[in-house]
């Protein structure tokens, strides 16, 4: 009588032990380059975005940061498209791309604000990462990188120390349950070297000292369409459907050196579970845990209207006015603001004193009369 039930119970427990404890999934997809010749980075990010949406993560849980200057670029021979396969097989831009941070909003500061949650209160909900301690987050970054840094939009960079600190801030506030970090740049492995927070798994397209190469140019469009590592990761993800049981070890084998030319790397020492037991859909898809509802509340149907114990107070609100966005009258008639004069600081003073002293010591004080 108890035999099969007991075995079933034990198996359930074993399953539970290996399963992840997350209840929701988020994805932060960042393309850190702009300009037409970096087409492939945008195509990389959009392809990952497509896969993640296909596997179930809704737009409200995806923070997509792109320079978004490809589809409507004057150099694009096929406007409003971004292709990821040559011969224009797959348009990853499509009709329902929801870019949350576009163009000049993709900065290191905004990226770190999204991760740590230190966002100004006026930010709309779609631009926030509202994860909690039961969220599995996928972070995908692509662009140009170097040993220990990643270049953002050709004007600033983020170092691996800052990234590791941001993840630690997220861990302190329990903003993630488990985190998967994928990076496709040159010397990508240097970016995950400094991580020290628990429950992070990282994959990179190349080791320190190696460059990640692009995959295939399209002669009609005139640029390279995708990077090799992401291309093969995408081919791998095409086989995954929401119910598949493929695990992370297979993802580590994607793109061997023969195909990728660079050596992809991964880091799992901070991760608690064995990668064998981590499903791809734990991060790329959004498989909810559901429970059958077996209880009901018994309601008395003949109840009349309800008088609340705490009557809502009618707050006396002022009539709403349209906020003045740009006080034109003030700006036009404004006098230039008097900037307070500060005496030169100690460093500059000291430097100048040093220079003057050396000059006159070397050449003699009698030269002063030539100056004045």
């Amino acid at each position: 009588c108890c035999g099969p039930a007991l075995a079933g119970g034990l198996q359930d427990q074993a399953e539970q032990f290996f399963r992840s404890g997350h209840t929701n999934n988020w994805a932060v997809l960042v393309c850190t380059s702009r300009f037409w010749f970096n087409y492939r980075h945008v195509a990389n990010t959009l392809s990952v975005y497509r896969s993640v949406k296909r596997l179930g993560i809704p737009d409200s849980h995806i923070v997509l940061m792109l320079a978004d200057d490809m589809a409507c670029n004057p150099r694009n021979p096929k406007p409003a498209t971004v292709f990821s396969h040559k011969n224009m097989e797959l348009n990853v831009y499509g009709d329902d791309v929801e870019v949350d941070y576009r163009s000049y909003e993709v900065t290191v500061e905004n990226f770190l604000r999204v991760l740590t949650g230190r966002i100004p209160p006026s930010t709309p909900r779609s631009k926030r990462l509202l994860s909690d301690d039961r969220s599995n987050i996928l972070i995908y970054m692509t662009g140009h990188g170097g040993n220990g840094f990643l270049k953002f939009q050709d004007s600033e960079e983020i170092t691996n120390v800052e990234l590791a600190d941001a993840f630690e801030q997220m861990w302190q506030k329990r903003r993630y349950n488990e985190l998967l970090f994928i990076i496709d740049t040159c010397q990508g492995a240097s970016m995950y070297e400094r991580f020290y927070s628990p429950n992070i798994m990282a994959l990179a397209s190349s080791q320190v000292g190696e460059d990640s190469l692009s995959h295939q140019p399209d002669l009609a469009i005139g640029v390279h369409l995708m990077d090799r590592y992401t291309f093969y990761v995408l081919e791998f993800l095409e086989e995954i459907h929401p119910a598949s049981q493929t695990n992370m070890n297979d993802l580590f084998q994607v793109c061997p050196k023969s195909l990728c030319v660079s050596t992809p790397g991964h880091r799992t020492d901070l991760f608690q579970r064995d990668p064998q037991n981590v499903l791809i859909t734990d991060f790329f898809g959004s498989v909810r845990k559901v429970e059958i509802t077996t209880e009901t509340v018994s309601l008395d149907r003949d109840v009349a209207g309800f008088e609340s114990k705490f009557p809502e107070e009618e707050l006396a609100t002022e009539p709403l006015k349209y906020a003045e966005q740009l006080p034109v009258a003030q700006i036009i008639h404004q006098k230039p603001k008097q900037k307070d004069w500060h005496p030169p600081g100690g460093f500059i003073l000291g430097l100048w004193a040093l220079i003057i002293m050396v000059f006159f010591k070397t050449y003699g004080i009698k030269h002063m009369k030539h100056v004045f």
Binding site: R174, V290, E291
Partner: protein, 495 residues
């Protein structure tokens, strides 16, 4: 550390006083227990029990015919502050409690307990009742889930909603087949009659806002299987997780407030897929025809009866029985908050709370868990904020951030004090204030560590600028020093 004090009164009805009382009534007794969460965190629970005998009015109330009437009569005679408990002990042979039932838990904050012969048995039973009605070691551990060492807490524990200042509830009606069904649901009326009383009771815990919507042509992501035996369509348990995602994109939950959103969906299946039943893991159809997902919400499938004659004109008009629907949705709401009645021992009889949705002691249960969770969150937040400020020495703390931190510290101290005095309401309010202040301080946009230069960046910028310029200066300085050090040369002879 944190001490949770529960003021309790143990009232002995006539004929129920055990023979081996240590002291004559009335007397006070204290039971302390330590709930250790990890090596450094532990919570002490302290039940301060006042043992006394019944007053005349209470005796009259206990002479009622059923336990429910007795409970209703005793309610005005009790101390009804949040967090307190009253246990009435009835004789072993009393007929007030049905056969086989030893404990009756009312819908307020009292219970009727059958005497167990000796004092020890009675105390064991009282302890069990007190834990069910206030907090258990596992509920405290679940509230402090991020401090429990990994491996001890199963991944399925603590999937209840986290303590938040507010929640947004959205009721959605999904009609994938408007050509066949015109569905009318009186959601406003249903919310006023059934949902508002529950939310009113929960208004102590958080602010709730309710909205509703109707979605047309929204299909489930899964095709149900046709079962010939029952001539109905079945959704198996393992296909349920894939149902939610295609619908979620259309729910518009991201346009709502920043509070966690709970979605309750009512799905009216298409004519071609009716009737649709949900199967559980063993293949049996689920009586409620509903399922829920932790921290997200619930879905119920509402089957429309086939029309009497096959030539009935489409679309069929459907009037949704809102009471039946709300019974399931409110049960799901309770389960999402973690108020389940399934783990209670068999000898307990729990009074149904009726239209209020949850009993007073269940509200207390929630408040205990949330207060402990809030206090733990505040201390973690402030500690990590302090660590951040230590690491980045030149960060600038604005005045309002500093005042929020002070306020958070003061509030959390007052919360701990109130808990040790047994004032649950005051402790909960203080812990809510503490959480608000600490979150505001921690997530202040000015604390971004990027804005403050690390030392190596300072070197990296200034050295290439100043080093080339400094080379001749330093060499000249060196020459000066050498010159002044040499013994003064003899003045050359001047002729």
């Amino acid at each position: 550390q944190v001490q949770l004090v529960v003021p309790m009164a143990v009232v002995f009805g006539p004929g129920s006083v055990p023979g081996d009382l240590p002291r004559p009534l009335p007397f006070r007794d204290v039971q302390e227990m330590e709930i250790s969460v990890n090596l450094r965190t532990s919570v002490t629970s302290r039940y301060e029990m006042l043992h006394r005998s019944t007053t005349g009015q209470e005796e009259a109330a206990l002479a009622a015919a059923t336990a429910r009437e007795a409970d209703a009569a005793l309610h005005p005679l009790q101390d009804a502050t949040l967090g307190s408990l009253t246990m009435y002990v009835v004789p072993e042979t009393s007929s007030l409690l049905p056969q086989g039932i030893n404990v009756y838990v009312g819908k307020h904050r009292s219970a009727l307990v059958r005497a167990g012969g000796s004092l020890a048995a009675l105390q064991a039973r009282l302890r069990e009742v007190a834990q069910v009605m206030s907090f258990t070691a596992s509920s405290i551990a679940a509230a402090l889930s991020d401090r429990v060492p990994d491996g001890q807490l199963s991944p399925d524990a603590r999937r209840y909603l986290k303590s938040s200042l507010g929640y947004e509830i959205t009721f959605s009606l999904l009609n994938p087949d408007p050509k066949s069904h015109t569905v009318d649901w009186d959601i406003e009326g249903a919310v006023n009659r059934y949902v508002k009383p529950v939310l009113d009771k929960l208004s102590l815990v958080a602010n709730f806002s309710v909205d509703s919507q109707i979605l047309y042509y929204a299909v489930l992501g899964v095709t149900p299987r046709y079962d010939k035996e029952s001539s109905s369509f079945l959704l198996s348990a393992h296909s349920l997780p894939h149902v939610i995602n295609p619908v979620e994109a259309r729910l518009g939950s991201s346009a709502a407030s920043l509070y966690p959103v709970l979605n309750f969906l009512l799905y009216v299946p298409e004519r071609s897929h009716s009737p649709l039943y949900i199967q559980d893991k063993d293949g049996a159809p689920v009586s409620t025809n509903a399922f829920h997902s932790p921290r997200w919400g619930g879905i119920m499938v509402y089957n429309v009866e086939a029309p009497a004659s096959p030539q009935a004109s489409l679309p069929l008009h459907v009037d949704v029985d809102m009471a039946r629907v709300m019974e399931v949705f409110l049960a799901q709401l309770r389960l999402l908050f973690g108020l389940s009645r399934e783990e209670v021992p068999a000898e307990f009889l729990l009074e149904s709370p009726g239209n209020e949705g949850l009993a007073d002691w269940e509200l207390d249960h929630l408040l205990w868990a949330h207060t402990v969770e809030n206090i733990a969150t505040v201390s973690t937040t402030l500690t990590s904020l302090a660590q951040l400020l230590d690491k980045i020495g030149n960060i600038v703390i604005k005045d309002d951030v500093a005042s929020e931190v002070y306020r958070a510290v003061a509030s959390v101290q007052s919360a701990v004090t109130e808990l040790s005095l047994g004032h649950l309401h005051a402790a909960f309010q203080a812990s809510k204030e503490a959480v608000t202040s600490s979150e505001r301080a921690f997530f202040d946009p000015s604390l971004l560590h990027l804005l403050y230069f690390p030392d190596d960046q300072k070197f990296a910028i200034y050295i290439p600028l100043f080093l080339p310029m400094a080379v001749p200066i330093l060499l000249s300085l060196a020459k000066i020093v050498r010159e002044t050090r040499q013994p003064k040369k003899e003045p050359t002879k001047m002729d």
